[in-house]
Amino acid sequence: MTQIQASPSAVDEFISLGPLVQFPIGQVKALELDGRVIGIVRTVNGIHALGNRCPHQGGPICRGIVTGTMAPSDPDEYVYEKDGEVVRCPWHGYEFELATGRSVGGAVRGRVPVYTAEVRGDEVFFSWRRGATTS
């Protein structure tokens, strides 16, 4: 796992995580930053930063896979949606939206910690600032 030496000194401070090309689309890239593990996920729509804790039982969400999810549908009908916008916990398979950390379908109370990640030019920037999405 890559360790980032520079650490944001304040919640709202941004630091560079490196060139965008180092973050392949559709995978969780785990980094150690300031003694914590975070996961950076690049999608076709943007980039997201996750904490490494599933709100169910604290599973290592950064070892999960990026996927889509099955939408509610009629019997014998299968609807797959949100491809590449969901992460699945490796422990019990609960799924969470990358953009908000919320549980898909409200299956789990709470949310995966989601921090602020931005692409500026060809570089990825990160801060510990949390989104205020009450679950």
Partner: protein, 80 residues
Amino acid sequence: MRVRADQIDCTGSGMCELSVPEVFALDDAGLVIVRGDGTLAGADVNDQGTLVPVGMRAGVREAAAACPGGCISCHDEDGE
């Protein structure tokens, strides 16, 4: 014993608030706070956290152990 909670790691599961609502709550963003604002009777806060009344310490330890975010830390003071 003193307790602290780190919002950076908080998953907002609310396990702590369910366990010891006298000590923990969720703020408007759905993240943990320790009631050091006077809501916790006799709250004594310093840089190592909020002093937990004796009768609530076992509950606070359980809440820390159950927290999926691992964001609650307990600090025993001398003589405890």
